[in-house]
Amino acid sequence: MKIHNTRGGRIFDAVNYVFLSLIGIITLLPFVYVFAGSFATEAEITRRAFFVWPEQFTLGSYEYIFATPAFVRALVTTILVTAVGTLVQLAFTVTMAYPLAKKTLRGRNVILSLVVFAMVFSGGMIPTFLLVKDLGLLNSYWALILPAAINPFSLIIIKNFFQELPAELEESAKMDGATEIGILWRILLPLSKPVLATFALFYAVGIWNDFMSPLLYLSDNSKWTLQMYLRQVTAASDLLGTGNVDPNYIPPEQGIKFAVIVVATLPILIFYPFLQKHFAKGMLIGSVKG
């Protein structure tokens, strides 16, 4: 159908297109500036108010941060915690989702109701902190992984997905003598790869971006993750009074901050095409009412 367009309509379209393009560009500008700044000299950052291309190209900031043990440690730690954490969280979620997809399993409805209740109400920051403390997980990387091991929303979506798979698949496998675990491992998981990939990304982004858990649970600054390190680097001078930045820490030059931000952002930008596609879908599954 072609909508007849009036003169006023055409003007509106033109203004709208220009306006939206500007919105898009403005959204992107902070990254472009930081990206350009990470390759610029300190003198240029101080002298020029804003630029999207450095006059004098230098890798100095990156050489500096990759020669800083605290940064490299934070980066490696974060990559490892994200990788291990994603696998652990996915394993917890999938193993729980599969039995819950069986409608004949007794106790299933009680457990599902308890899961949903946990979405609505949580113990909150302090009781969770005390629990982690009592479990002896303070200053352990498990404190960044286990408390968030199962996202109830993800659990229910994966459960629904398993439920919708044809039952004949399982029945024929059972005839051949496969156990429930064998069915899950050899038949259901290969079929669910796209769904699992989506939730793996979901968990990975959550761990990578997490600031609150390391802030609460990692007081030992030799164990800090990248987000904690980033905060120390960029905010050191603004932090009077909040009390968890080393007072002897000297804030670095601007270029260093730019480079750390770029490194912390890059993995998200690399995975962004997948994120956009799958998260948009996930968001609609999770929230649109039929």
């Binding site: 709208n16 729980m96 113990g123 920051m125 009781p127 675990i181 905010a235 909040t242 912390a264 948009a280």
Partner: protein, 324 residues
């Protein structure tokens, strides 16, 4: 009263009353048959018991005088004393004010902007432009608050930040936006807009895609212009989505976002920056007042629950479909 939510969220109807009519047999037989499934279920059940339900039980310290040495069970009960202390504390009105002002700024500015952006995107018929703009404005949603805060620190850096220079030149001032308490709230709302407005349009765009195109044609024949079509067709069509999102937003009103506020708080803006979430952290974790801060957190959750049911009731009262 939460039962209907349970139905919707679990994606199926949960039977609550009469047991199944068929004969279910002995549990031991059932268990033996399903032992592998129960084994698979175990880690998840243990997770929920330990990391979700134990902290809910731990909330009881809000009514106790928690002593770490005595533990949650051993600490003496004090009734509502922690709550009384909190309501009598001069911090209470200040926190409530700060939290509500930020919440209303987000509801009054960021929320309508999301709808406006969705409407503007919906009017775009050049699909490559639409997709490009969507791709760009969704990006910030995936970045951590640490990165958003760091970007703000650089853009508003004293003397050298691009936005520091631009805004001060335009206004003819010399304001340090990062430490000036008067600029704390605008900065927070600005961050919220930059990070989440784009992403928030997804739901509205999905709702807009379902609007019946024939209505537009009929309206054009009747001589309705662009804005009248939006006003009389588009907006009414997505009204229920707007109401649902508004209810959800109001339910989340007191959750000002711990990470964002915490990262932007400093010694100079504490007076306006402190909200319930960060207060719980400062008083609970850094000062060790566990029971008191748990009471503050519990108060906040309860108000949140009241808000969400209250708005839902209001929405139904005014003949709109509510959330549940």
């Amino acid at each position: 009263m939460a039962a209907p939510v349970i139905d919707t969220l679990a994606g199926e109807r949960v039977r609550k009353s009469a047991p199944a009519p068929r004969n279910r047999g002995r549990f031991s037989v059932h268990f033996a048959h399903y032992k592998w499934l129960y084994l698979l279920l175990l880690p998840g059940v243990v997770y929920f018991a330990v990391f979700r339900y134990a902290p809910m039980y731990g909330v009881s310290i809000a009514f106790k005088d928690y002593v770490p040495f005595l533990g949650v069970n051993g600490s003496p009960w004090v009734g509502f004393r922690n709550f009384e202390d909190f309501f009598a504390n001069p911090d209470f009105p200040r926190l409530l004010g700060n939290t509500l002002i930020l919440a209303f700024l987000n509801l009054g500015v960021a929320f309508p902007l999301t709808i406006v952006l969705a409407l503007l995107l919906n009017e775009v018929r050049l699909s490559i432009l639409k997709r490009t703009v969507q791709t760009l404005v969704y990006i910030p949603h995936f970045l951590s608050w640490t990165i958003v805060a760091s970007l703000s620190f650089l853009l508003f850096a004293l003397d050298i930040g691009p936005l520091f220079q631009l805004l001060n030149t335009v206004m003819g001032t010399n304001i340090d936006f990062l430490s000036d308490p008067a600029w704390f709230r605008p900065l927070i709302v600005l961050q919220e807009i930059w990070k989440n407005t784009g992403w928030g349009t997804i739901i509205f765009l999905a709702a807009l895609a379902t609007v019946d195109q024939d209505q537009y044609e009929a309206a054009i024949i009747d001589g309705a212009g662009r804005f009248r079509r939006v006003w009389h067709i588009t907006l009414p069509a997505i009204r229920s989505t707007i109401i649902v999102m508004l209810i959800l937003a109001i339910g989340q009103m007191l959750n000002t976002g711990f990470e964002q506020i915490y990262l932007m708080t400093n010694a100079l803006n504490r007076e306006v920056a402190d909200v319930f979430d960060t207060y719980v952290y400062f008083v609970g974790i850094t000062q060790g007042a566990y029971s008191y801060s748990t009471a503050v957190g519990l108060f906040k959750s309860l108000v949140g629950i009241v808000l969400i049911f209250g708005t839902n009731w209001l929405a139904k009262r005014f003949n709109q479909s509510g959330l549940f």
